[in-house]
């Protein structure tokens, strides 16, 4: 296929996805009006028995988790000084920033009175995990915006602020790593308080650690996946010799995570529940197969690791498995104890889809107008 034909194909594809996004956003706008005029009950399937649904399970838990590539890569480059990974930092930071904006947008829909979100700054309760979460969201979103700001400053050719940012980058990155570690783990800690409600296949005192480790794995997966998508959409990509070592890191992280889960299950006596089968056991099995076994198995083969499609497929599996895990903790694992089945309403789904769509659109805009990925010509010259 000629270059021109490729361009035309790309344009057609973009046109299709833009149309899909436009349709979703029309519904999204309608649901937004309903949500804020008629209350949560009018648009969601939430209830007193099931007060946290898709917006917490997906928008918040997954939005934060999939942003974990940002702190992982800033740490690799600015703390461990492995500068060859520099080209990956900006796409990872952009993903992280958009992930956190998705979380904040999700919270604006989910909180009963979102206009009081600043209350957490004024009325303190250090005994609350949610208090920690609120502070982490606010502080780390600020840190992410600052970490990503050089891309904007470069584009605007503002020299002095750029020098300033270079000077403060290391302490900033260290703050970001600490905040991320706290935030990722705190989302797991949220569920420590419900030992009698969360199913034993997911409840463990190690929840904060498991949330942190799985987020690092999925965060790396997101970075690889996005490189793949932006190559297809705009021809901007990262070199395979940068992605392959990342894939190896992901294998190690997911391997440790899978082992920890297995040890926890073995020691808590929940293994019997697995053998009995049933709804929870099936969901647990699916989650582990898609999120751990499949990507680890695939990426252990060198042929897959060094192949763009293979890399993307394995990363997609890791990300999907991660999403399944968060939904299992927040929905599947809670259903039996509270005695209610929760299925999100179509309006809840529209809001989540709309936010993800907006995230993709913002990513595309940023990639088009800001120096996020290395310039193709420059990369080749190196």
């Amino acid at each position: 296929m000629s270059a021109a034909a490729l361009m035309r194909a790309a344009a057609r594809r973009l046109g299709f996805w833009e149309a899909v996004l436009a349709v979703i956003l029309v519904f999204f706008a309608g649901v937004t009006v309903l949500r804020f005029t008629r209350g949560l009950g009018a648009v969601t399937n939430l209830s007193d028995e099931f007060p946290w649904g898709l917006w917490i399970g997906f928008d918040v838990l997954c939005g934060v988790g999939l942003a974990a590539g940002a702190f992982t890569l800033t740490a690799i480059v600015h703390v461990f000084n492995l500068h060859r990974f520099e080209p990956i930092v900006r796409p990872a930071l952009l993903t992280g920033l958009l992930g956190y904006l998705l979380v904040i947008a999700g919270l604006i829909f989910d909180l009963g009175q979102p206009w009081r979100i600043w209350h957490a700054l004024v009325f303190w309760n250090p005994h609350s995990v949610m208090f920690e979460v609120a502070w982490c969201v606010m502080l780390y979103t600020t840190v992410l915006a600052l970490e990503f700001s050089p891309a904007v400053l470069e584009r605007l050719r503002l020299e002095r602020p750029q020098r300033l940012m270079r000077a403060v980058m290391t302490p900033l990155v260290i703050c970001g790593v600490i905040l991320s570690t706290l935030h990722q783990s705190s989302l797991g800690s949220l569920y420590l308080i419900v030992p009698a409600k969360l199913h034993p296949l997911w409840y463990t005192p190690l929840l904060p650690y498991l949330f942190l480790i799985s987020a690092i794995g999925a965060g790396i997966g997101m970075v690889i996946l996005e490189s793949h998508l932006s190559e297809r959409a705009f021809g901007r990509r990262l070199e395979i010799d940068l992605l392959e070592p990342l894939a190896r890191a992901m294998v190690v992280v997911l391997g440790v995570y899978g082992l920890l889960r297995a040890i926890v299950i073995a020691q808590s006596g929940a293994a019997g529940l697995l053998l009995e089968g049933g709804y929870e056991a099936t969901m647990f099995g699916l989650e582990m197969a898609v999120g751990v076994v499949l990507p680890v198995g695939l990426l252990l083969c060198e042929r897959v690791r060094t192949n763009r499609t293979g890399l993307a497929a394995a990363s997609l599996a890791a990300v999907l498995g991660f999403v399944m895990n968060r939904l299992n903790v927040s929905v599947t694992g809670m259903e039996r104890a509270v005695g209610v089945q929760y299925v999100p309403s179509w309006m809840e789904i529209v809001v989540s889809l709309g936010l993800v769509g907006l995230g993709f659109a913002l990513f595309a805009l940023a990639v088009r107008y800001l120096p996020v990925f290395p310039e193709p010509a420059r990369t080749r010259a190196r």
Binding site: N81, L82, R116, N125, A196
Partner: protein
């Protein structure tokens, strides 16, 4: 003093006067619903041949108070777990975390708040008993100091062991509650949670949260250390590998 209630299911006739009195005392809208909601803070139900009340247990160390990010929920020193609607941001962590599923939300309102029994904290401040206890025609809901109520509950069980299940519900559940219950029927048959941990739940998260300051300090020093060492290594390598450049 720590105030509480003792509800003796064997003395309850299911008249529902407590529900009506609760609505009046707390200015809640009618009707009285089948189950507790944000607008109905207590109900009486007939289950397994027994009449049983549903209301907040007012834990001695309440989970809801510990999980609220803006401290909208508070345990008063005299017993009630009260709620400040003006602080609440609507995260609903209290609803999700309560081991007794007590707090409820106003799902039908654009500006919603949480609703739950507040042990008539205003009446208590005036030296009055809770509305439900004051109106109860049979004394099934008894108002008093928790210590005295525990003794009374144990005395009743000891006096007629055949008439009661040998358990004071609320004595140790979730670390103990200000509202206690007696029953002739096993509590799980009344739809009560019997798998509630015996220790206070807030400890489960505090064990993690209390370590944050030391974590931040250790992690900060460690990361700066790694940066310092790897940076130094890089400078040394650059100096050894490219001597010409250094001379320039």
């Amino acid at each position: 003093v720590s105030i509480g209630l003792l509800f003796d299911s064997t003395r309850c006739i299911g008249c529902g006067a407590c529900s009506i009195a609760c609505k009046e005392a707390n200015g809640l809208p009618l009707p009285i619903e089948e189950r507790t909601t944000a607008y109905t803070w207590t109900v009486v139900k007939e289950i397994a041949g027994a009449n049983v009340r549903r209301l907040c247990f007012h834990c001695l160390e309440p989970t809801c108070v510990s999980v609220c990010p803006v401290a909208a929920l508070r345990k008063d020193s005299n017993g009630p777990v009260v709620y400040d609607a003006d602080r609440c941001i609507g995260c609903r962590y209290c609803i999700m975390a309560c081991p007794f599923d007590v707090p409820k939300y106003q799902w039908d309102r654009a500006i919603p708040t949480v609703g739950k029994c507040i042990l008539c904290a205003d009446r208590l401040a005036e030296g009055l008993p809770t509305a439900c206890a004051a109106v109860c025609p049979t004394g099934a809901t008894l108002f008093g100091e928790r210590e005295g109520l525990v003794r009374e509950a144990q005395r009743r069980i000891a006096a007629s062991p055949d008439a009661y299940i040998d358990h004071v519900y609320g004595l140790t559940e979730a670390g103990g509650t200000s509202v206690l219950m007696l029953s002739a029927v096993p509590f799980e048959q009344l739809g009560m949670k019997t798998d509630v941990p015996r220790q206070p739940l807030p400890l489960l998260t505090w064990q993690v949260l209390s370590k944050i300051p030391s974590f931040v300090a250790v992690c900060g020093v460690f990361l700066f250390g790694v940066h310092w060492i790897t940076k130094r290594r890089e400078i040394v390598r650059a100096a050894e590998g490219e001597p010409e450049e250094r001379e320039e």
